[in-house]
């Protein structure tokens, strides 16, 4: 009740303030959830934890620093594109929107986004300050269409306690990870025999994204240029068959948990149901917190690595990321200036965003001692170089991911042969892309 009263007073105060001074308002729309109850008035960004907490505190701090600017935040359900499409269709798009790099090409190619180069220049943000993966993620046809905010990838989250039981830990305490598919089978078998638990904790049910990200990763490692032509995918290849065959063998030999959906896989790993979880950067914070609690399956025994290079070719991991884009609309000069300030503030504070597990999009953060002191960041820092997105011109990446997930999933589950699944996926994706 107290909080509610306080909230109303604050709201009224804000109302008066906006009447009193001519504020510039920016409509900002984002996912990442709402956590006003906990962070509604927090301006100390370093005290915030988690995606939601950090972004909320960042905006609060920006507001406190810039009383002449009002950032009106609307939170939408992840990923928010249905709502954004509806707004764009009715000419009511917000000023700044959170967007996955993989979705930008759809909107950019349709003329629905404004480039941000001018805004960045006005703010004095040098495009070269961003990592290649970040900058590449938002660059289309030579222009930047968003402020890069982070990169994320799938990772190997390791339960060291179980790995010790399996004899898969080096003398220095680091886990022994496979370097080839055969090593993976052998280590997986050893793990399963010694611990009686599956080696991998994978999201195999009610899921498409994880399959697609893993496939992209291992194709990139084989230098398979499956999107040499961004309007036509090539999946009917020995490289793709090798990857899907490996995923199927992992399942057939009982080296992985089965039937787990996303939440089950997360809690399964926390409960020690398997040795290595293949899941995203965003979970590092939660898993670290678990490992710091006595009595949990991860207690003092958690670490994390990029997906290891299993194929001779190059070290690569499929990466996507979050950026801030500007829907195409008329804006006043004051609004442009306010957005420039906001973008500079977000870029300057990218370290804080990276605290929850995402990789920073700003190069200099990697050199900050605070960042290097964050748990396990040294292990995964190389993703800044190895992280690879799909070619910038590939459209409908969400739809493609769904098709790949469905078909690869069918092959792994044994509902289709590997060849059948890959050629069906190729046909479906190419029909989709040919018809745009």
């Amino acid at each position: 009740m107290k909080r509610f009263l306080f909230g109303s007073v604050a709201l009224m105060a804000a109302g008066w303030a906006s009447l009193a001074s001519a504020q510039t308002t920016i409509e900002l729309q984002r996912f990442f959830g709402a956590c006003d109850a906990e962070y509604g008035s927090v301006t100390d960004v370093s005290a915030a934890v988690g995606e939601c907490g950090i972004i909320t505190a960042l905006v609060n701090k920006f507001q406190a620093d810039n009383p002449d600017i009002k950032v009106n935040v609307t939170t939408v359900e992840w990923p928010g594109y249905d709502q954004l499409n509806a707004q764009m269709a009715s000419g009511a798009a917000p000023d700044v929107v959170s967007m996955h790099y993989s979705a930008i090409s759809d909107y950019q190619s349709r003329g629905l986004l404004d480039p941000v180069d001018g805004v960045l220049a006005a703010a004095g943000v040098d495009p070269a300050a961003f990592t290649d993966a970040g900058r590449g993620g938002v660059t289309k046809e030579g222009q930047m269409y968003g402020l890069p905010f982070d990169n994320w990838t799938m990772l190997f989250h390791v339960n060291l306690n179980l790995m010790k039981d399996a004899g898969l830990v080096n003398a220095d305490g680091t886990p022994i990870l496979p370097k080839t598919p055969d090593e993976l089978y052998a280590q997986g078998k050893q793990f399963t025999e010694k611990t009686g638990k599956p080696y991998l904790v994978q999201i195999l049910a009610n899921e498409t994204a994880a399959y697609a990200r893993v496939l992209y990763t291992f194709l990139q490692q084989q230098n398979s240029d499956f999107f040499a032509d961004p309007t036509a995918i090539k999946l009917n290849t020995p490289e793709a068959a090798a990857v899907v065959g490996m995923l199927k063998k992992i399942k057939d030999e009982g080296l992985t948990t089965v039937n787990m959906d996303y939440p089950a896989a997360v809690s399964g790993f926390i409960n020690g149901d398997g040795g290595i979880a293949i899941n995203g950067t965003w979970l590092i914070g939660d898993f670290v917190a678990q490992s710091q609690q006595e009595g949990t399956a991860l207690a003092n025994g958690y670490t994390v690595y990029p997906i290891p290079q299993l194929f001779a070719g190059r070290d690569a991991t499929y990466a996507d990321g979050h950026g801030w884009v500007l829907p195409h609309k008329e804006r006043s000069a004051e609004q442009d200036a306010a957005i420039a300030k906001l973008f500079k503030f977000l870029a300057d504070n990218d370290y804080h965003w990276a605290r929850n597990g995402h990789l920073p999009a700003v190069k200099s953060v990697f050199d900050m001692p605070e960042f290097q002191n964050l748990p396990h960041r040294a292990n995964i820092a190389k993703i800044a170089e190895t992280g690879t997105a799909l070619p910038a011109a590939v459209m409908r990446q969400f739809a493609i991911q769904d098709i790949i997930g469905e078909e690869v999933g069918a092959a792994v589950n044994g509902d289709k042969t590997v060849e059948d699944a890959l050629s069906t996926a190729e046909t479906r994706i190419n029909e989709l892309l040919a018809d745009l």
């Binding site: 764009m88 269709a89 349709r110 629905l112 039937n259 787990m260 589950n413 989709l432």
Partner: protein, 292 residues
């Protein structure tokens, strides 16, 4: 219905006018507009290109559409009879009013108040391996685990169970309301004849609520053809598209692939299918009976 004193008058139509105007403006008109969209290659954001019936051809040729159609037909053919039979059973069992039956009515209805997000959240926790309720029971009995949400065949079944649980409230209430309206004297003759319960049910009760059975069946056919949220949230249509219903197909085509024209074409096809299904039921059920 056409008694001489019940004269046909334009004035009488005024009662229906407010609804008919709303109906025409906000349903019929958008439906026609939707048909117009279905003849175009168009996304959400701008003028499209007229392509005639191209979208229809593409939809009908799409194996995913055909699979989704088959899934939907199977789903409707299994859930609707279940809902009708179970709803009727509950209504009969709870028809006599006591405190206990009132409580149970409320209970069976309670699931209907939940939104689809919550319904699927609940049933996920029932069906999911390891932590799930069924998994615990199977574990206890020493049975082999089944991936209810990730095995072909089982996934659509699981969506069906959640759907029946969610939707059972309306059939039960409609049947209850109908049972209340059967005049008591219909039963008095049966009581004199010492007819057994089964004869009372088949000779008196069921014929008296014929109209409601039809009503419930048609409503459920229409509703279950539009299955979407449960499948999307529980199985994401998987595995291998084996639980993807038509509306999910439409959503994916329209909102993820941005092919609004083709999604509109698929919607019009769905509309025709539902219309045919409802008409067939109606015609079959009212044949040899007095008119509408």
């Amino acid at each position: 219905m056409a008694e001489s004193w019940r004269r046909s008058q334009w004035r009488n139509g005024l009662f229906a006018l407010p609804f008919l105007v709303t109906f025409a403006a906000f349903l019929v008109f958008p439906l026609i507009w939707g048909f117009w969209l279905s003849l175009h290659k168009v996304d959400l954001f701008g003028p499209g290109r007229f392509v005639g019936f191209d979208n229809y051809v593409k939809v009908l040729r799409d194996p995913q559409f055909r699979q989704a159609l088959l899934n939907t037909l199977i789903f409707v053919a299994t859930t609707v009879p279940t809902l009708v039979a179970l709803g009727l059973f509950l209504a009969l069992a709870l028809n006599h009013l006591t405190r206990a039956t009132a409580f149970l009515r409320g209970l069976f209805f309670a699931s209907s108040v939940l939104s689809v997000t919550i319904v699927t959240l609940i049933w996920r926790i029932v069906f999911i391996p390891n932590d799930g309720l069924i998994a615990l029971v199977f574990d206890h009995l020493g049975w082999a685990q089944i991936g209810f949400l990730s095995t072909k065949g089982w996934s659509l079944f699981s969506v069906g169970v959640a759907t029946v649980w969610w939707c059972i409230g309306l059939p039960m209430m409609l049947f209850l309301a109908a049972l209340q309206q059967i005049p008591v004297d219909h039963y008095e003759a049966a009581a004199l004849d010492n007819a057994n319960r089964w004869r009372v049910l088949t000779r008196i009760t069921l014929p008296a609520i014929r109209r409601t059975v039809l009503l419930v069946a048609i409503i459920q056919v229409v509703m279950q053809f539009q299955l979407f949220g449960q499948a999307q949230l529980m199985t994401n249509g998987g595995p291998a598209g084996s639980s993807r219903p038509l509306v999910m197909y439409i959503y994916e085509v329209g909102f993820i692939r941005w092919e609004v024209g083709r999604a509109a074409a698929a919607s019009e096809i769905l509309f025709l299918i539902i219309l045919c299904a409802a008409m067939i039921q109606y015609v079959v059920a009212t044949r040899n009976q007095e008119g509408v």
